[in-house]
Symmetry: C2
Subunit: 130 residues, 2 copies
């Protein structure tokens, strides 16, 4: 059993920033946002905090096409998918077809276990097109 995380200025700042931001952002972007707000937090700490939040399922993580990790505090905690803008990270939470059961069925049929799946949509939003 691991102890609950400690409440530090940095952790709060990261959580607050995530609460304000609506879209998926990289750790570096978050770091910059915090800096410009005046809540300066070390880059390593931003990474650590985001990972911790992700493990606690407080934030969702996904990889953009460059393999960079993007983080977002989602409205719903239940499982869902995303439609994300390649340009600005603008995000819409969406309900996918029920891939969950399909995924584990297909997996089991081929002798695979611990099936996990990724279903994400990428596109260019109206703003990033003009």
């Amino acid at each position: 059993m691991n102890a609950p995380p400690r409440m530090t200025r940095q952790r709060t700042a990261v959580a607050d920033a995530l609460a304000d931001l609506a879209d998926f952002r990289s750790a570096q972007q978050l770091h910059e946002v915090l800096r410009s707000r005046g809540d300066s937090v070390g880059l390593a700490t931003v990474y650590r905090t985001l990972q911790a939040l992700a493990e606690a399922r407080e934030v969702d993580v996904l990889r953009n096409e460059d393999g960079e990790s993007l983080y977002r505090r989602c409205a719903r905690r239940e499982h869902h998918h995303h439609l994300v803008c390649r340009g600005c990270g603008r995000t819409v939470e969406i309900d996918g077809p029920t891939v969950e059961s399909w995924a584990s069925t297909v997996g089991a049929a081929h002798g695979f276990e611990d099936i996990d799946h990724t279903v994400e949509l990428w596109g260019t939003c109206a703003d990033c097109r003009s």
Copy 2:
């Protein structure tokens, strides 16, 4: 109009290796395979060749959970999805539910264009479990 790629020893070696390998492999792994075969090819060339093949849709690319690119010469050229083993890269080509039309519909409904989607399944195969 760009000229067709030249047929070099290196390009052939990479293509051959991909033809023999059944599973998703990283550029580094391919490089190692080539080296152990005796068909030594520079790492930069392996990367370049794989990218070229991917652009030509000769191979499929996907990102593992670490964000690393994995390549595979797939049996079918039509669109399909994969069930990949996290441990060894063992791959099964699968038919997913028809997400294609769903993807563009959902995208359009939110004002997004050039919709692209990722649907991949990850699991642990029988061999990697024992």
